[in-house]
Homo-oligomer: 161 residues x 2
DNA sequence: AGGTAGATGTTACAACATAACATGTCAAGC
DNA sequence: GCTTGACATGTTATGTTGTAACATCTACCT
């Protein structure tokens, strides 16, 4: 299987949002966790955007479609979603993005395009193995690796070579 | 050579600060860049702390030893020091740390201990190679990789197994 | 001395995140 | 049906991190 970490221009976006929400529902149900309306809306906003978004941008988008949630509420929802592995935080951008592989165990890595802002989530075994090896040599126990690579995605590199 | 990314408890700290400052002087002189008093003090503060520090913590420390610099001045000094490769930013902590290998080309990676807060800077070839390979498979051009691994350093893991 | 480029200072504010406490919601057990 | 308890959300205020806009200073060149 060839993976396409960067979404193609014309994929079935509605279906991809629905799939993400369904996966989240299933995952929470299986764990006895509550995917409340607010949490679901935050996740849906991230899925719709299909890119990393700051908390206040999420608030803005939610405000356009109904009541404006308080910052703290959105942060709490994001905390929950992160704990469930449904959302990741992009540290270097103070932003959040819906997980591309909900349910899978990871160790995700992110390719962040400086041209278009798209964030691709990959889960490369080789990268994790190399980091594990380097850490072992220092006697370091890995808990939470953050790998965020800024650069240019294929289409942006092509557009401005 | 066995590297010790985590500093031993009793290394010659004064010498290690002096060495860092000397390296910075030499590097800037060689490039025709100006290591001004303010920039030097910011770097010295980071070298003394021997760990990652927030900008406002740097300000606090500098205030204890003289005039309190404005936030923006410290951020500008940090920008300069980062551009010269003398300081790195730890994204996940909104903090800064003096570079452990000034002058060397890198691609640094950080092991951040959640026990004691120490940050070890390593420059593992295997990790960079793995990331390069993963990026190539996506047609992604790497510009600025961020690798920050949280976990426990050897002494903290031993102290609380 | 005057010009100029770069560094720093002053002030105000934007953006990101959380503390403390009140209130709402829903299901279990009486 | 009511109470209770656990968890989620709302309200208000504030803390933390970072920058914009513009003034001033400094060191060097001519």
């Amino acid at each position: 299987m060839t993976t396409h970490a960067f979404p193609s221009d014309a994929h079935d976006h509605a279906a991809c949002i629905a799939a993400g929400l369904d996966a989240a529902e299933a995952l929470c149900a299986g764990r006895g966790e509550r995917l409340t309306v607010l949490r679901r809306q935050v996740l849906e906003t991230l899925l719709s955007g299909h890119r990393a978004m700051g908390a206040y941008e999420i608030i803005e988008r939610m405000a356009e479609r109904g009541r404006r949630p308080a910052a703290i509420s959105v942060y709490r929802a994001l905390d929950f979603l992160q704990a469930q592995g449904l959302v990741h935080r992009i540290e270097r951008a103070n932003a959040f993005i819906a997980c591309a592989h909900p349910g899978a165990r990871h160790g995700p890595q992110f390719l962040v395009c400086e041209g278009c802002g798209t964030v691709a989530e990959i889960a490369d075994r080789g990268v994790m193995a190399a980091i594990g090896k380097a850490a072992r040599e220092e006697g370091f126990e890995i808990h939470d690796p953050v790998i965020e690579v800024a650069g240019r995605c294929a289409s942006c590199a092509e557009a401005r070579p």
